[in-house]
């Protein structure tokens, strides 16, 4: 195996980042589906009715909002903890 060229290295890193972003999105999607299904579809009928659909789309937006709040607080906690040391 020969040494990777700078271009090959960049390609490898981009590929890595892309895979990471995909995995992250998948995790988010999976959790979101789980949480919003249990919140919005309390009694499954023959199809999703309009109020369930409305609930689902709002739930998705709120879940993203929540994710961002959690991400911010966790990051600032890490910052505070590392300043202590």
């Amino acid at each position: 195996m020969s040494k990777l060229s700078p271009a090959q290295k960049d390609e490898l890193m981009d590929e890595f980042k892309q895979q990471f972003a995909i995995a992250n999105a998948q995790e988010l999607l999976e959790k979101m589906t789980e949480k919003c299904f249990s919140k919005c579809v309390t009694k499954p009928g023959v199809s999703l009715d309009s109020s369930e659909n409305k609930c689902i789309s709002m739930c998705v937006d709120r879940f993203m909002e929540s994710f961002n709040i959690i991400s911010r607080s966790y990051s600032s906690r890490i910052q505070r903890e590392s300043n202590k040391v």
Binding site: L4, F16, S66, I69, I70
Partner: protein
């Protein structure tokens, strides 16, 4: 130089090593955010989703992260005490 050194310097040069380390840290952070979001969503978002999270829910979510970490630290401390006590008891 052994063939082993050869291989590791070829595949993992310094840039790549640093890159992988940084990416791994990002992945760990991200995984923990997913976990915390799942826990805190269940705890704080109790109403049907509306057009905006109210300020009380926002505060709850943000407090939830800090209190979860505090809990984890407190339990670790408590657990360490128990283990220590048991270890010193088995000595006597």
């Amino acid at each position: 130089m052994s063939s082993n050194d050869d291989l590791s310097t070829q595949i993992l040069d310094k840039d790549l090593q640093e890159f992988i380390l940084a990416e791994r840290q990002k992945a760990q952070f991200q995984a923990q955010v997913h976990r915390l979001n799942s826990i805190c969503w269940d705890k704080c978002v109790t109403d049907k989703p509306s057009s905006k999270l109210d300020s009380r829910t926002e505060a709850c979510l943000s407090n939830c992260v800090d209190r979860f970490i505090d809990t984890s630290l407190a339990i670790t401390q408590r657990f360490a005490n128990i283990i220590q006590k048991q270890a010193s008891q088995s000595f006597h």
